[in-house]
Point group: C2
Chain length 230, copies 2
Amino acid sequence: MDTHELSLFSGLTPSEEADVRKHGWRRAVERGAFIVHQGDPATSIFYLDEGRAKLSQVTPDGQEVAFRYLGAGDTFGAIAITPGAIYPVSVEAVEDCQVLAWDRDTIQKLLAKNARLGLNLTTILTTMVRQLQDQVRELATERAERRIARALTRLARQMGRRVENGILIDMPLSRQDLAELTGTTLYTVSRVLSQWEQQGIVESGRERILLRIPHRLVLIADDLGPPNKE
Amino acid sequence: MDTHELSLFSGLTPSEEADVRKHGWRRAVERGAFIVHQGDPATSIFYLDEGRAKLSQVTPDGQEVAFRYLGAGDTFGAIAITPGAIYPVSVEAVEDCQVLAWDRDTIQKLLAKNARLGLNLTTILTTMVRQLQDQVRELATERAERRIARALTRLARQMGRRVENGILIDMPLSRQDLAELTGTTLYTVSRVLSQWEQQGIVESGRERILLRIPHRLVLIADDLGPPNKE
DNA sequence: CGCTTTGTTTGCGCTTGCGCAAAGAACTAT
DNA sequence: ATAGTTCTTTGCGCAAGCGCAAACAAAGCG
């Protein structure tokens, strides 16, 4: 369901992949630095080879909205394929990253040379469309608690690390970050987490969330959750 | 800013376009009928040659969420390019439509034959991604009145007809429809429209909305709006 | 032409969740 | 350590908007 299963390189032979890789340029990005700046001319398409990053947008009045977190194997900046485009989002490394980048001409040549690459890119884009449609549906119809539960289960699948007593979201993640990801506020996130903590569903600290009973979160996300009362 | 400017056929020579068209099959769809059913195997990609349609999704519990309205020149169902995919949305004709459809193999062959077609498709998809990101941002950060103003100005640009005393949304559009498009309820939409009607900004009736002072709506959408108080 | 269906309006009460403020907790740096 | 920064928690009041209900309006139908 994630871009996970399908990377830009899926189905390519090792030598094809090597060829595509060597036409791009590699760059190391430190935690906290930006790989892509919202508003800049979109000149390159990127492949995240290592590390984690946040894909987000800032509103005119300064509020931040996060769309998703990227992990190794994710592709972003595909808008660069269209001449004259501007990046509509920013991508910020939340840990040290290694990225591959291709400029417009290069990627176009590679696409012309390798049909499978084009198919992969199309699939990546339709997957993004699907995910964003889900996000719109959730924001339009679900309440905050449910959206937070959903975000956490997604993050767990994507970047969860199995530990002794549950699944740890393996990344610094503040209440504010979760709020930006779920279209709510830091306060609401904090209150919801406190409540879950009391029920033993999660265990959380500063920028750290451990899911002790992931199943319960899935139930809340799908609203079959054991009623809070009774 | 809309898919308007760029259609699937942009930049193709007339004979190329004719070739692509004749490989697809044409279908007439009556108002109210569905062109694509959410949940069905995605076997075809579509081009809307004539008419208007609604692209929407139904939640498990029956609520409907509308993503956008399509007009002549719009492409949808691109997910069909990926083998095994399922349509995540439904597309319903809101007036009589003419559509062109290509099945997976056909479109793949056409894409292999014509690089420009692939570029167009990629651009269409990145545009959809951008629009959906905007929609997420709006739902996450803006209040109902503002989202409704935005939706109306968009609809006006997309399917507005200039008439004597303003711009008419040239399509049957109920309060419920607008609510599904803006992530709110029929009641809220009705109240907001009533208020605007009193201020002379719009003039609305049953499934019909006329923008008398479109500019004012833009101001509300961008929140520079003449303060309601004072 | 009256009857039904479908869409719209608006009063009212209520829930959700926002957001300030202030206190506390955890990490950083000197 | 100590001070400063950053993140988190929670009380409290409040506004937005939900959703029922009931009345009204407009279109469709026999």
